[in-house]
Symmetry: C2
């Protein structure tokens, strides 16, 4: 990649590239922090959206955490940068336990997630063999969207806890209201948040009734974290995408376009005038293949097109994407006219899903309100 010497600006950065509006990000972080502070519940931010220590430090309450990660690579990278209170929130496999032990031996309080007796037995065995009790949370299924134990299944919860505590340690329960990404409007979002809370509080109570301590009661997703009214019984909230926001979040009503902090900078490379197309050099490689708004009321294609200040043109979206080509066109039925964009002109494109789009890039170009790049923050991928 071409070396970028600062100062640079959105007018001269090689395209396509990732632009992060630092002022919007800071406001997004304050918004969730203030909301949770009012309810007296700490935030354990999910670092999988940013995958950047610079972003992580701004999301976390302290340089040591707490934090949530989705890969062992995130755990290792953030631990190397001083984060020492981490939950790896994807169901564990026995083959990953040696890496967990290695991080714990370095002084990192890394907790893991599981939802079966089989996993609990493996964790207890490895813990005993290492003489080091690995702490685990039991994953609770609050909405049927993927993994987890039913909150009312006391037998299974207690069987997992029993197996786990033969060497390992029960840290608590955790759930993620993944279905809230499909909710829409304040009422539906509040209901999803309450269902999430109720699931995990019920599971914790079942474990306590069975004689197990259940210190951590963890919920989280961006839509529910920003919608929950009552968090009684919850000890921490996890959320990730709130830091950048995106078109999916705007589509369910949890943020406005003016709060979306992430965009892809692209340059016009051509036109097909008879079709009303403007071609740019950002295709799905730069935007990702995510089509999360396809099932929403307003389909944003592969992204909503903005001017260099981050203001949408209106109905101009990335209607189609090839690997390195984006086809800009007006949304079907639009009465607007195509903006006048010549070859070499630049646009910013809001992503459907910030986690997916950011993952296509290895760095953030950080701007504040203007077009001057004030910092370049590296990001990483891998497992």
């Amino acid at each position: 990649m071409t070396h970028i010497a600062l100062p640079a600006s959105l007018h001269d950065l090689p395209t396509p590239c990732l632009v992060l509006d630092g002022a919007r990000m800071a406001r997004n972080i304050d918004r969730l922090r203030d909301r949770l502070a009012q309810r007296g519940v700490p935030l354990r931010p999910h670092l999988k959206t940013g995958k950047s220590i610079e972003v992580a430090r701004r999301m976390m309450t302290t340089p040591e955490g707490p934090a949530t990660v989705s890969t062992m690579e995130e755990a290792r990278r953030f631990a190397a940068a001083g984060v020492s209170d981490i939950v790896y929130a994807v169901g564990i496999t026995p083959a990953k336990l040696p890496d967990v032990l290695a991080l714990r031996a370095q002084g990192v309080d890394l907790a893991i997630l599981l939802d079966s007796v089989e996993q609990a037995v493996a964790v207890a065995e490895v813990s005993r063999a290492a003489g080091m009790a690995i702490p685990a949370l039991i994953e609770i299924d609050c909405d049927g969207h993927r993994s987890g134990v039913q909150p009312g299944d006391r037998d299974r919860l207690c069987a997992i806890a029993t197996a786990l505590t033969q060497g390992g340690q029960l840290r608590g329960v955790l759930t993620h209201a993944g279905d809230s990404y499909g909710a829409q409007g304040e009422e539906a979002l509040r209901a999803a948040a309450e269902a999430e809370r109720l699931a995990v509080v019920t599971a914790a109570q079942n474990l306590r009734d069975g004689g197990f301590a259940c210190p951590a009661v963890s919920v989280g997703s961006t839509p529910t974290a920003l919608s929950a009214v009552d968090l009684t019984g919850v000890t921490e909230v996890r959320a990730g995408v709130f830091v950048f926001f995106d078109l999916v979040m705007a589509g369910i009503g949890i943020c406005s376009h003016a709060e979306i902090a992430l965009s892809v900078l692209a340059t016009v490379i051509g036109h097909q005038e008879d079709k009303g197309w403007i071609l740019v050099d950002a295709g799905w490689m730069a935007l990702s293949r995510d089509r999360g708004t396809a099932s929403q009321a307003v389909d944003q294609g592969y992204g909503l097109v903005c001017d260099l200040s981050g203001r949408p043109f209106g109905d101009l979206i990335v209607a189609q994407a090839n690997q390195e080509h984006g086809v800009l066109a007006l949304r079907a039925g639009s009465s607007e006219s195509l903006p006048s964009l010549a070859i070499g002109d630049r646009v910013r494109i809001f992503p459907n899903h910030a986690c997916a789009t950011a993952a296509q890039h290895d760095r953030y170009h950080v701007v504040q309100a203007g077009s001057d790049v004030q910092a370049i923050w590296p990001r990483f991928g891998g497992w």
Copy 2:
């Protein structure tokens, strides 16, 4: 990322990760090479699928090329590895011309692509200022799928050629039958190939009639390259995804499942028995969000699930994907029963689109027929 010491095997690699069957890849390369050799037309492989010098060297006729790339980063990386005959096959913007000049000054014969007088004027100006004629191909639109000049639009072709040759150099014409990815069956594929050939041969004739030399007449896409019967007038064929193949290519009938060389290795992390779900640690981050088979006769979800030898289980697909979770389930309407896969068991997943899935990873774990990893080949991304 965890350091992998060879020897390793599919049984102990950290998951998710990318597996490349080197024997299948070699057969795929031979297949296209033999086909083009019979027709006497050279191959200019597209290196955007592999983004790896190890893969590139096996695809190219010589270590110096010829080659096609989709980003300036590919041009720079492959040039640094000794490739000196390169076409950058995405419409050029003026801001990228200094990088083109820099590579040409290093002795790389880098040619660019354009489809407007505006671009041609910019290329000619920059060429004159640098005292170095940049060679450009005119992009031809053979099927309306994105950019390019209509093959019969002699006025526009000659206007571009006239502007270009005021300092730049006309290398020829180039087209890509992108719509062939939506073709199905031998007849439709042959028709797409003939339409692609005819478009570019017609455009070349129009330029020659206008008094311009048009040495390069370049066509290419994997489906058409493997289907073309007649290549009269064509001087080179470009193709990329043929090197790995994928489920989209299998869906249009251009390859069999037994020819797909790329897969994602994943580990079982849980079950939701009442739903018939098996959870694995490969979500869309490892598989990509590409849903290219969604519009085909057989929808493969986010991928087709295979055993460790690369043989599909049958109707088991990745029905849903979150960032780091894949939900395996039988295809709707299947009469098969769910294979018995315990926590810790491993599967390989064929991708919908090899270019998109490979782009989510930074290395290939190369196996031959068996499960021993014989090499690790790095790959790169970025622009």
